[in-house]
């Protein structure tokens, strides 16, 4: 028997499909991954499918939703014993968007909490360069990474040399299993300089229940036009702790082109630190001061396949550890209706 939330989701999507515009087609996209992780001598496997349903209708409307279905396979006693598995599923977001104009889009429903850039933009399995989330991913995204309520977003000012974008939201407390969210409000303001391919921004969240926490953060994304380099960084602060991460990814596309065997290779490095503050009981941040460094090699195969490999070393008073990751990801996109691609 389907849970009530899943039935609601299916009904909403079916209704929107019926009235979907003819000029565009509803699509299902997303990624499938197989992840193998060895952390501190313990190995686990994680096949995941993460579909995104996108239903545009009319000139201004859009329904979009992402779900994640994980199988978590590990040994019963960590490094020994028989394997056992745990199945997890979640609705990451289910939102209705009204694109009023360039300056304003109104979003209602369940949406990804827009704090800094990782949660909203980089976390999907077919996008992230390194399989493990940053140490500070839990700051500003309480309680589940999703919010329930309303959000306004858009480009406040657009000039030839710079753009100012914004997001502001309010979330209610919801404790339903698939739509878990805390009562909070917050926003993000970013400046993008197209000529420099540089984006800088700040984020803020006020958590309006329990201990009424403030979280704030800042981020940077830079892609210098002189080299195929992606540089991303975040800093976040809350009462429970503060930290940062800096990630650089270099694609060897300058050597024989992006589609050559060498041009498909990407080298990644990430450095991050977390400093423990006064943690709340339900914090998901590390339990001690932590430093971590990761090195990765990704390979972009044809047909939307990608291999991610990485090695990380984590230093903490709770015990240092090595983390090895191997991930293969397939990024897919199909029309939801028959004949939709024509």
């Amino acid at each position: 028997m389907f849970p009530r939330s899943l039935c609601t989701l299916l009904l909403s999507l079916s209704a929107a499909l019926v009235i979907s515009a003819q000029s565009s087609t509803p699509i299902i996209s997303g990624g499938v991954q197989y992840l193998s992780t060895t952390s501190g001598g313990t190995t686990f496997f994680q096949p995941t499918i993460s579909p995104v349903v996108t239903i545009p209708f009319g000139d201004h409307w859009l329904i979009e939703s992402r779900g994640t279905f994980d199988e978590f396979i590990s040994r019963e006693d960590g490094a020994t014993g028989p394997f056992h598995s745990l199945t997890l599923s979640s609705v990451d977001y289910l939102q209705l968007d009204y694109v009023a104009n360039s300056h304003l889009t109104i979003v209602v429903g369940d949406f990804l909490t827009p704090f800094n850039i990782y949660n909203e933009r980089i976390a999907p399995i077919w996008i992230h360069n390194l399989s493990d989330a940053p140490l500070i991913a839990g700051i500003g995204t309480r309680t589940s990474g999703s919010s329930e309520g309303g959000m306004l977003r858009g480009v406040a000012v657009s000039r030839k040399n710079w753009q100012l974008n914004y997001v502001a939201y309010f979330s209610a407390l919801v404790t339903a299993r698939q739509f878990n969210a805390g009562r909070s409000t917050g926003g993000r303001v970013g400046t993008f300089i197209p000529g420099k391919r540089l984006e800088l921004g700040v984020s803020y969240q006020r958590f309006l229940q329990d201990q009424h926490l403030n979280s704030w953060g800042t981020y940077l994304v830079w892609q210098p036009s002189s080299a195929p380099l992606d540089l991303r960084a975040e800093y976040a602060h809350t009462r429970g702790g503060q930290g940062y991460w800096i990630e650089g990814a270099y694609r060897f596309s300058r050597f024989r082109g992006a589609d050559s065997w060498l041009g498909r290779l990407q080298a990644i490095g990430r450095v991050q630190q977390f400093y423990l503050g006064t943690p709340a009981p339900d914090d998901v941040n590390p339990g001690a001061d932590t430093q971590r460094v990761d090195f990765g090699l990704n390979y972009y195969l044809p047909h939307n396949l990608r291999l991610n490999t990485s090695y990380g070393r984590q230093f903490t008073s709770l015990g240092n550890s090595n983390i090895w990751n191997f991930q293969i990801t397939y990024r897919f996109l199909f029309p939801l209706l028959p004949g939709g691609s024509k």
């Binding site: 087609t25 996108t54 979009e64 939307n304 996109l333 029309p335």
Partner: protein, 100 residues
Amino acid sequence: MNVRLASRLALVTLFLVSLGATAKNSAPQQQTKVSKSSPAQTATTESEEGEKRFERQCGRCHVPPEDLSPREAKAVVRQMRVRANLTAEDERLILKYLAP
């Protein structure tokens, strides 16, 4: 001497003024050329500009998807307009690039 110097200065000034006037006149000519270009040329220019916008706006997070039909591209770009805070012009030009 002073008269000669003054006349040289006047000549240089006249030359600089004429250069400025030529530059001013050439700008509208260029604009006229663009506006008189064929629809195919305009589409190509817009597709190239769309590619630039894709690299700047979307390329910050991911590489372009492969093999999109025009109707699929429209759904993808609508979604990205919300997610990546694209303007209406960004949406139109990126669509020209993804589904020319």
